[in-house]
């Protein structure tokens, strides 16, 4: 079935080679990082996790969002999602791949990564994060490939796939909960030490992930004969709406607790993010942009006239996606380290090599996604699928 990715027009191959070029540049930057060290990034003694881990945190959410297609279709027989569940699963595969790559490029000694397997430490959340991410990758690969293969042959998928699909539902929730636990159990970081961290993560994931999926469906509709169907898109858009409302609501809950309790340690990170601390205002414009985009996105999505308008919908979704990306990536990860344990401020911003490596990893994800989607589209266009 993979050979279907080898047949494409000029537009397809231009895109593939463009991605390969970007990956090449990112790879060269990574070689430099391997030899000179992570000092070529913007990381410091105070802000020891930055852009790479921010992308990882955000993309785990996008990966988990495949469950928003699986639950309605497989658990509640919502047939409208039948054609596009595979796109959600393939997006999950590309996202989890990028997550693992971001962790790898962030490591100081990546050649020692197998130490996590050789010396498993059950009390470390990071071990469980590795377990659930790899598990989710395998589940989606097996489920996606098998169901697509069955569609290609025009037969229903084999019975053993069903339990795996059911497993993927709690597993998707678990990958993001475990990732939230990386942050939510650390005693010294007040921005992260909140019970609502996992819930916030999931809400943000279920907003950003399906938003990206809808946009991908629209792109697929433009470049191929495969149409997800406007009903499916509208259902997904409603999911994005509710999830984003929950996400913003949870964030406002955090703001209330921090500000009303007046505990300085609790309020300081949020003050830094939105107003700056001691004259340091590096993230302020980003956070307010995210806030504006979030409300504009919600406004456009809640209003059925603008949501149903497929000319306006993409912009609402992009607004939601970028807002979630800023908030969960830069805002959350970097904000957790500011102020530092001594209550002083050391700011962080990514450097050019760091951005090059990041874009390179995104290009790898885009390549995986492109190849997998090409295969899925080819099967759908052949029209052999049963029951969709």
């Amino acid at each position: 079935m993979l050979e279907k990715a080898l047949y494409g027009g000029k537009r397809y191959w231009t895109w593939i080679f463009f991605l390969l070029a970007v990956i090449g540049i990112g790879f060269l930057a990574y070689l430099r990082q391997l030899s000179e060290g992570l000092g070529i990034t913007g990381l410091s003694r105070d802000v020891s996790w930055g852009f790479y881990i921010a992308q990882f945190t955000f993309l785990v959410g996008v990966a988990a969002s495949a469950v928003m297609l699986v639950i309605p279709y497989y658990l509640h027989d919502y047939k409208k999602f039948g054609k596009i569940v595979i796109l959600g699963e393939f997006l999950a595969i590309a996202s989890v791949t990028m997550c693992m790559l971001f962790i790898l490029v962030d490591m100081g000694q990546p050649m020692r990564v197998l130490n996590v397997v050789l010396h498993p430490t059950p009390n470390s959340v990071m071990l469980w994060d590795a377990v659930v991410l790899n598990g989710y990758l395998f589940i989606n690969l097996i489920v996606g490939w098998t169901t697509l293969g069955a569609d290609r042959k025009g037969v229903p998928p084999p019975a053993w796939v069903k339990p795996l699909i059911y497993l993927s539902v709690p597993w998707a929730v678990s990958i993001h909960t475990v990732t939230a636990f990386l942050y939510a159990g650390l005693p010294g970081r007040h921005l992260w030490l909140t019970a609502i961290m996992a819930a916030r993560f999931l809400a943000s994931a279920f907003a950003a992930g399906p938003a990206l999926l809808i946009i991908l469906c629209m792109i697929v509709r433009k470049v191929s004969k495969f149409d997800a169907g406007s009903e499916a898109i509208q259902s997904l858009a409603k999911i994005v709406t509710y999830a984003m409302c929950a996400n913003v609501f949870f964030f406002l809950l955090e703001v209330f607790t921090a500000m009303y309790s007046n505990i300085p340690g609790h309020a300081a990170p949020l003050k830094y993010l939105f107003f700056g601390l001691e004259g340091h205002t590096g993230l302020v414009p980003f956070m307010w942009t995210a806030a504006v985009l979030a409300f504009v996105g919600i406004a456009l999505l809640v209003n059925p006239l603008t949501r149903r308008n497929e000319g306006i919908l993409p912009f609402a979704l992009i607004a939601v996606f970028i807002a979630a990306w800023i908030d969960k990536g830069m805002g959350l990860v970097v904000g957790g380290f500011i102020p530092n344990p001594f209550e002083t401020v050391t700011e962080y911003s990514p450097t050019a090599p760091e951005l090059a490596i990041t874009i390179g990893v995104y290009a790898i994800g885009a390549l995986v996604l492109t190849v997998l989607y090409k295969v899925a589209i080819a099967v759908r266009e052949a029209g052999t699928a049963v029951d969709h």
């Binding site: 990381l43 490591m107 100081g108 130490n115 010396h119 990386l182 650390l186 957790g336 344990p341």
Partner: protein, 266 residues
Amino acid sequence: MSINRRQFLKLAGASTVLGLGGATVLNGLKREGLEASQISPDPRALNAKRWGLVIDVSKLKTDEDYQRCIDACHNIHNVPDHGNKKDEVKWIWKDNYEHTFPTTTEDEFMNHEYKEKNFLLLCNHCAQPACVRVCPTKATFKRKDGIVMQDMHRCIGCRFCMAACPFGARSFNYRDPRPKIKIENKAFPTRMIGVVEKCTLCYERIAIGEPPKCAEVSNGAIVFGDLEDPNSEIRKIMAEKFTIRRKPELGTFPSIYYVIGGKENA
């Protein structure tokens, strides 16, 4: 016999897995390793149930007093000086009251002398360390004598411990440290890029019967001893004077105590 491609692939796959798996199991069962009787501690080694320090900053009067402790530690341990705050590596350093005890918050009515006073900060070798809790490879681990140790060979450089430490005690080697080591101690290794490092309570000196270097050069400002030995000098000091620890409310139970008091404690 006729065999189709699918059956062949299944057979090849199963054979490979069994072959590799079997080889691994047999390898693991092979008896190797040193006999327990061959390895033993140095007879000079100091032993304790829980090592700790008491730091009386009233005995550190000049900037030079602080710097002597810092330089002594950094010199014998080949700690690099990168010259900038971003790549900074430090095992022990000085900072003022507000930064050492930030959760006690700004207090404008506080004793002026203590407000201006500097403290010496280092890894607290906590009894329930957050960093050990999160390390995925046990590269940082708690020894039986209480020292929170760092295994530079195993560290994968994920920096989870740095995120977890509430005291900012850990540094990462963002760049190659060797060019920036001012004075090399040939008896102690350096580190390489990509690993986390911190104060290890001079485990290599304790192993041959000597106290931590900072305590040795502090002229009595830093006292080293076994917190669980009621007859130790450190416990005697703590029985007479009021001591505090950094961020005790976080539940890590630090082992570094700071003597607090006015002029009568000098």
